[in-house]
Symmetry: C2
Subunit: 237 residues, 2 copies
């Protein structure tokens, strides 16, 4: 059995907040647990917050704002390495980390009622490692965010940072129950863990951390950047 447990009762995240210690205070963590931490509180703890009032939009940001707040568009552009698509007031952007998502991960929700935006952590793998270090017990840590995806409706949570285990499990060459060797089976464990935690996270429920117990991670030095597929290897694009 695998258990998904909401972690409640943590203080409001502020810049410099020791999230790992707070999590360890809020829930009884056991060795082998995996903790999924919502990006929003990590960004807040790392001071990755920008007040709209402090931003002067560029001419380009004004041009493409299409009725949106040009200051917000400016923030999105600053977080963008490549615009994948731009239409109907949405910017699908590739971030400096290589993630492809709406508005480069810039988000007004759950900050202060719309006056400030959060940005993705600069190095979410390092964020996860720092949180794991603060916890002390040997756990896996994932930083998750909610992304749209091609071809399918709706958002799912994915791993944008991680520490303490392998991002994927490579089953290629293993025999199935009938002795047939599996061909192309590399499982995105970190993303499945993030998606499972997404069942616990509800945008309005103030549960920013999910503890997952009972899933045996594959050991290895995993990074969420391992989950970013190089463009030249991506048959799906």
């Amino acid at each position: 059995m695998i258990q998904l447990l909401p972690v409640r009762g943590m203080p409001e995240a502020v810049p410099g907040a020791p999230l790992g210690r707070w999590i360890a205070d809020a829930v009884a963590i056991e060795q082998g647990d995996t903790l999924v931490v919502a990006q929003k509180i990590v960004s807040k703890a790392e001071g990755r917050i920008v007040k709209l009032a402090d931003v002067t939009p560029s001419e380009f940001a004004r041009q493409i704002a299409e009725g949106r707040d040009a200051r917000l568009v400016e923030i999105v552009l600053r977080e963008t390495r490549r615009i994948v698509r731009m239409d109907r007031g949405v910017i699908i952007a590739e971030t400096a980390h290589g993630f492809v998502c709406a508005n480069a991960g810039v988000d007004l929700s759950n900050v202060d009622g719309g006056a400030s935006a959060t940005l993705l952590p600069l190095d979410p793998d390092a964020s996860a490692a720092r949180i794991a270090g603060e916890i002390g017990v040997a756990v896996g840590v994932i930083i998750s965010d909610t992304f749209g995806r091609p071809w399918r409706e709706g958002l799912v949570d994915v791993a944008i940072g991680m520490h303490g285990f392998a991002a994927t499990t490579d089953c290629r060459g293993q025999a199935d129950s009938y002795g047939y060797p599996l061909q192309a089976t590399i499982l995105a464990d970190a993303d499945q863990l993030a998606a499972a935690a997404g069942l616990i996270f509800r945008k309005t429920a103030r549960v920013p951390v999910c503890l997952i117990r009972g899933f045996s991670v594959t050991s290895g030095p995993g990074k969420a950047r391992d989950l970013v597929r190089p463009r030249d290897k991506d048959l799906f694009r």
Copy 2:
């Protein structure tokens, strides 16, 4: 708390197998549970199996086989409505259902050691409804398969069929904890449930069903086809 429970001890699926009754015999189901059933046993129960020896490949299948078994390529082509991309021995195909996946969901693993391939169920939403009907108790049912995706490495489980609840939860207009109305938040619940079950399914572990307890589904007449984004609405493409 949400629990993910492996359902073990079911007989080997054969054409005509009453999967819902078998599941109800194998595990104590409670009202409000969600059952995720791996596509493979649904395809077997529905006789969606083709022996390679019974297939004569077309000239085109031979041309594009690139060292693979042309009979398998022929089966893939028969399941394909549109070839999205074809390279290095992989066909990314859109199926008749509208799903975009490798080899149109045709798969040699976990059948009979490579002599036969399974095809996706013809109507996986109907498959889920039938299984739910056989169970009797009011449960959600998902048929899941393991898909690759653009931009990210590794496979995740997604819902290809479902019954008994809404595929997505629309949070647009709800206020966050700071009173800010959420903008674009439609959560793909069925896919997150399928991904969570993917933590229980391991290709070689012979666990074809996962029971999820403790997740409050959104009520509504959901279909996995609701998760297929119409091409003209898909900014990510």
